[in-house]
C-alpha cells in the first residue's frame, strides 16, 4: 500500500514543489508543505488514484492554513528593489526589468489571487480551479479578471502595495 502511495507521490513531487515554491516564494515552506501533503496522501483512501488536482488542492489548503495561523506579513520580495545603474539601452535588460516588475506585482497579490493565477498557469480549467480553491465555479472568471487587473495596477503603481496575506 505504501509503495503505491510513494509511487504516486514521486510522480507529482517535482511539480508539487515547483507549484508551492511559486505560490509561497519560500523553499523551506515548499518542502514542509510537500512533506505534509505526502502524509495526507498516506492517510487517504486509494492514494494511488489521487490526481494532480488533488495534490494542488491539499497543498493550496495547507498554504492557506499556515498563512492564517501565522498571520505572516508579506515578506517575499523587497518592495523597494532599486535599479542598479542607469539602464543600458539593451533589449535583454529591459525585458528582465519588466519580468522582475511583473513578479514583484504577482507576489504583491493576496495568496488566493496568486494561487488562482498559478493554477491557471498550470493549465487547470475554471471548473477544476473552483474545486481546488473551494469556490463557486462561476466565480472563477470574475476573480481571474479582477486578479489580472490588480496585477496591472500593481505594475502601473511601480511595485506592490504592501497588502498582507489574506
Amino acid at each position: 500500500m505504501s509503495t503505491a502511495a510513494e509511487r504516486a507521490f514521486r510522480q507529482h513531487r517535482a511539480a508539487l514543489l515547483r507549484y508551492v515554491y511559486r505560490l509561497t516564494g519560500d523553499a523551506e515552506e515548499a518542502e514542509d508543505v510537500a512533506q505534509e501533503t505526502f502524509l495526507r496522501l498516506l492517510e487517504s483512501d486509494a492514494p494511488a488514484e489521487k490526481t494532480w488536482g488533488w495534490f494542488c488542492t491539499v497543498a493550496t489548503n495547507l498554504v492557506r492554513d499556515r498563512n492564517s495561523k501565522r498571520k505572516r506579513r508579506r515578506r517575499l520580495l523587497s518592495r523597494f528593489y532599486r535599479r542598479s545603474l542607469p539602464r543600458r539601452p539593451d533589449k535583454v535588460m529591459e525585458h528582465r526589468e519588466a519580468l522582475t516588475q511583473l513578479r514583484e506585482a504577482l507576489y504583491g497579490l493576496p495568496t488566493r489571487d496568486r494561487a488562482l493565477l498559478l493554477l491557471r498557469a498550470e493549465g487547470f480549467r475554471y471548473r477544476e480551479i473552483a474545486e481546488i480553491l473551494e469556490i463557486a465555479p462561476n466565480s472563477v472568471g470574475p476573480l481571474v479578471g479582477r486578479a489580472l487587473r490588480k496585477l496591472r495596477r500593481g505594475l502601473a503603481g511601480g511595485g506592490a502595495d504592501g497588502r498582507g496575506e489574506s
Binding site: F9, R13, A14, L17, R18, Y21, R22, G25, D26, A27, E28, A30, E31, A34, Q35, F38, R75, L76, L77, S78, F80, Y81, R82, R83, S84, L85, V92, H95, R96, A98, L99, T100, L102, R103, L106, L117, L118, R120, A121, R125, Y126, G141, P142, V144, G145, R146, L148, R149, L151, R152
Partner: protein, 244 residues
C-alpha cells in the same frame, strides 16, 4: 444589438477559452465595434502571456528538488563563516577604484570595521544558520548577471573566478529567480553568498542591493564597490547597513 461592454468575467473567460461558442461570437462582435474594449482585451491578453513567462522563470533551487522528502536540508555551515572571518585582509586588487578606496578616511575602513563586527556577531551567536542553497547557470555565449537583492547587514558576497563553464551561485536562505542569462537571489540570510564565475566568461555583472560590485565586459574589469581581498582572485563584498 449593442452588446454590453466587457466585464472582468467575460474578458477572463474569453482569454482562457472558457466561453461557449455563442458567447465567444458576442465578445468578438463587440470588440470589433468598441475600441476601448478591444484595447482592454489586448492589454490583458498581453499581460497574461507575460505572466506565463514570468511564472516560468520562478524555479525552485536545485537542492529543494534533490533533498530527500523525509529529511531536512543540511544545517549550518559554520566552517564557511569562520573562513571569512579569518581571511579578512585589505584590498590589493588594482584598478583606480581599489586604490581610491584604500586611502585614509575612505569608506573602505569604515565598513571593514563594521563587517568584522558583523561576522564576529554571526559566529558568536551560536544560532542555527539557515541552509545553503545553490543554483547554477550555464555560461553560454551571452551576458550573465547575478543580482542579489534584499540582503541584510551581515551578508557578504564573495566573487570568485573559476576554471569551469557555468556560473555557480550559493547562498544561505533566499529565493531564486532565473531568466536567460540572469540569476537573482532575493532576501538571502546574513552570511556568505558565493558567486563563482568562469574566467572565460566574456560579459558579466554582479550587483548587491542595487549596487554594482563587479562588471566585466571583454577585457575590462570594473570593481566600483569597495571590497576586501581574501586571496586573489577572490573578492569579498559586504551588504552594508540597512535593508534595501
Amino acid at each position: 444589438m449593442n452588446d454590453a461592454h466587457l466585464d472582468d468575467a467575460r474578458v477572463a473567460a474569453y482569454l482562457d477559452g472558457e466561453l461557449p461558442e455563442p458567447a465567444v461570437e458576442e465578445v468578438e462582435r463587440h470588440v470589433e465595434a468598441c475600441g476601448p474594449c478591444r484595447r482592454e482585451l489586448e492589454e490583458l491578453a498581453d499581460l497574461s502571456d507575460r505572466l506565463d513567462v514570468a511564472v516560468e522563470g520562478v524555479q525552485p533551487p536545485a537542492e529543494l528538488l534533490d533533498a530527500r522528502i523525509h529529511g531536512k536540508t543540511a544545517g549550518s555551515n559554520r566552517g564557511d563563516y569562520l573562513r571569512a572571518a579569518v581571511f579578512f585582509l585589505l584590498l590589493l586588487v588594482g584598478g583606480t577604484a581599489a586604490a581610491d578606496a584604500a586611502l585614509p578616511g575612505s569608506p573602505v575602513r569604515d565598513w571593514l570595521g563594521a563587517a568584522l563586527r558583523d561576522v564576529a556577531g554571526l559566529l558568536s551567536s551560536g544560532n542555527n544558520l539557515p541552509a545553503r542553497r545553490g543554483m547554477a547557470l550555464p555560461a553560454g555565449d551571452g551576458a550573465v548577471e547575478v543580482r542579489v537583492t534584499g540582503a541584510p547587514p551581515g551578508a557578504t558576497v564573495r566573487v570568485q573566478l573559476t576554471a569551469g563553464d557555468q556560473v555557480d551561485v550559493s547562498a544561505p536562505g533566499g529565493t531564486y529567480v532565473t531568466d536567460p542569462g540572469l540569476i537573482e537571489i532575493r532576501r538571502p540570510a546574513a552570511g556568505e553568498i558565493r558567486v563563482q564565475i568562469p574566467r572565460t566568461l566574456f560579459s558579466v555583472r554582479v550587483t548587491l542591493n542595487g549596487r554594482l560590485l563587479v562588471e566585466r565586459a571583454a577585457d575590462t574589469l570594473r570593481i566600483p564597490a569597495p571590497a576586501t581581498d581574501d586571496e586573489p582572485p577572490d573578492l569579498l563584498f559586504p551588504a552594508g547597513g540597512g535593508p534595501s
